[in-house]
């Protein structure tokens, strides 16, 4: 409870204010990316590849089009990627000798305030990205409008679940190459093998447990079952539990690492 109260105390909002102030310079570009990104993916994969899939693979899709199958996974994975990039790089830069975190740490803000403020920013950005993404998808007929109010929170939950561990890890890093490696060797494989583009049942059965263990699969499956109306209470609970646990564990770890790095 104390943590919750502190997270929403005024100092954390000052850090949020800082990132929003900086965002004023880049918001136009970021909105274009948020709209163009789904446009390209949905056009290429949904319409292009989807036509092939729908012709031969109807059995797997249980009557839905490939586009409808793809959209939730694509949304969750895209929001996760953007969040990782917005969390990892700026956190590492922030904590270096000339970074914003150093400046903020010399004001009344505590390391936890800085973390909470930045986390609010990532969350806000995830809401924006997920909303724009689903609105564009709606125009493609890839998602029913009535599912959007459920789908957006799922994407935001996944974003937060990735943001806190990413911040906890990045705050201890010192070189951009470390962030790039993480993106290349962890985030991209997750993207490919978490059921974003195809049901994991298409993989050899011994690989299924690996996919079940990955956080993105839980996010993708949660989003897909919600969007296609196939959610089961137990499955939904398991997915939610996994993602919430990951977000909380990441937050606790990040709080410890922020304190250690900023109050040396």
């Amino acid at each position: 409870m104390d943590t919750l109260v502190r997270a929403f105390s005024a100092p954390a909002f000052r850090e949020l204010g800082y990132w929003l102030f900086r965002y004023r310079r880049t918001w136009r570009g970021s909105i274009v990316i948020s709209v163009v990104n789904p446009l390209l993916f949905l056009a290429a994969l949904g319409l292009g590849l989807g036509t092939l899939v729908d012709r031969d693979g109807g059995a797997y899709l249980r009557g839905d089009s490939y586009l409808e199958f793809l959209l939730p996974g694509l949304l969750v994975a895209a929001v996760m990627q953007t969040t990782f990039l917005e969390a990892a790089g700026p956190v590492m830069q922030g904590v270096l000798a000339r970074g914003n975190y150093r400046a903020a740490a010399s004001t009344p803000l505590s390391p936890a305030d800085i973390l909470h403020g930045h986390l609010m920013y990532w969350t806000l950005r995830a809401v924006m990205n997920a909303t724009l993404f689903t609105l564009v998808s709606m125009l493609f007929g890839a998602v029913e409008a009535s599912r959007i109010p459920l789908l957006v929170p799922v994407a935001v939950l996944v974003a937060v679940a990735f943001a806190t561990p990413a911040a906890a890890w990045s705050v201890t890093m010192t070189r951009p190459s470390q962030i790039n490696s993480m993106f290349r060797f962890a985030i991209l494989p997750l993207y490919m093998f978490s059921g974003t583009f195809f049901p994991i049942e298409q993989l050899p059965s011994w690989l299924w447990p690996v996919a079940w263990a990955t956080p993105l699969w839980h996010g993708v499956d949660l989003g897909r079952t919600v969007a296609l109306g196939t959610a089961t209470p137990l499955g939904t609970l398991a997915h939610l539990g996994y993602l919430v646990a990951m977000a909380v564990a990441g937050l606790l770890l990040a709080r410890r690492n922020y304190r250690r790095r900023l109050h040396v």
Binding site: R22, G99, R102, A103, S106, T107, L109
Partner: protein, 318 residues
């Protein structure tokens, strides 16, 4: 000074900082149980070579570094429990400036001020005044990347003043600046002092310490080896004058040996020989009478540099 104000704005007692090292090795003791007090309105200096513990001390006072031992009170608060309250009333000028390169000069002041919970209205008024004070008004709308080193440092100082702090902490404020930029900075800092702001600065420049500090401590290997006003320290620890001799490389050892015993204290540096004396000209005469032929000979007044050499056995700029 208000009657109920504490006598000292900063009080350190047995202040200790040990940095843990991994792998079960013994920690590194950066600050080794130091005591000092800083009074309201004075300019107080921490003087020492790199690695003497100045910056660690500074970071503890800024409440961004937990103490390993001892006690520290700043502005009447305990630094361990009241970090945010103390930081709200400090101005910090770090060695590596943390100016935001994505923002303009004025925006840097505004957004930093927001961290102190100040309103935009107050900040607009203060930023105008502080840019004037630091002679940056012409640059207000410019990108920070167009600023020279001296301007960046002045912007950092303007930013540190945005919350109207009672104490300003300056870590090596003029390191890396050209002489003209340094003098302008000193002049501004002197003005701040006149306005009643308490200054605490670290430096390894003797002239800076002599120019700016009312009182200072000399630090070496995490300890305080001397404390007092610059003139007082010079009077207490050195003679009135110093004779500096430089020799031809080949003759240096012979010539140095010939000078032994001439004065009570003699300092052998790699490039020169320093003889402490009350009358430099007379000592120079005595040197000549011993058949010593220096390449150059200079008589000067003793400085803090000599105090430092005498107390620590090494040069500040090593």
């Amino acid at each position: 000074m208000a009657a109920d104000a504490p006598a000292a704005l900063i009080e350190a007692s047995s202040l200790t900082k040990v940095y843990e090292r991994g792998g079960g090795r013994a920690g590194f003791t950066a600050v080794d149980g130091i005591d000092f007090q800083v009074r309201r309105g004075e300019a107080f200096g921490l003087l020492g070579a790199n690695g003497a513990g100045k910056s660690s001390t500074m970071r503890m006072i800024a409440c961004v570094s937990p103490l390993t031992g001892g006690g520290l009170r700043v502005l009447g608060h305990d630094s361990v429990t009241d970090g945010p309250a103390i930081r709200a009333r400090l101005g910090v000028v770090p060695q590596d400036d943390t100016i935001d390169g994505e923002l303009t000069v004025r925006e840097n002041l505004l957004i930093y001020g927001r961290y102190f919970g100040l309103s935009w209205k107050v900040l607009r008024e203060r930023s105008t005044r502080l840019l004037e004070f630091t002679r940056l008004s012409d640059k207000a709308g410019d990108s920070v990347s167009t600023l020279s080193g001296g301007m960046r440092r002045r912007l950092t100082i303007a930013r540190a003043l945005i919350n109207e702090p009672e104490i300003v902490l300056l870590d090596e404020p003029t390191t890396g600046l050209d002489p003209q930029a340094r003098h302008l900075l000193w002049e501004r800092l002197f003005q701040l002092k006149e306005d009643g702001v308490t200054l605490l600065l670290t430096t390894h420049y003797m002239d800076e310490a002599e120019q700016l500090c009312d009182r200072l401590v000399v630090m070496d290997a995490g300890r305080i080896v001397a404390e007092g006003a610059p003139a007082e320290l010079i009077a207490r620890h050195t003679s009135r004058e110093v004779l500096e001799l430089r020799f031809d490389r080949l003759e240096r050892q012979t010539m140095t040996d010939r000078c032994r015993g001439l004065v009570e204290h003699m300092e052998e540096l790699p490039d020169r020989l320093l003889l402490s004396t009350d009358d430099g000209e007379e000592t120079l005469g005595a040197v000549h009478r011993r058949g010593v032929r220096p390449v150059t000979a200079l008589v000067r007044r003793s400085s803090l540099e000599d105090v430092f050499l005498k107390l620590t056995g090494r040069s500040l700029l090593d």
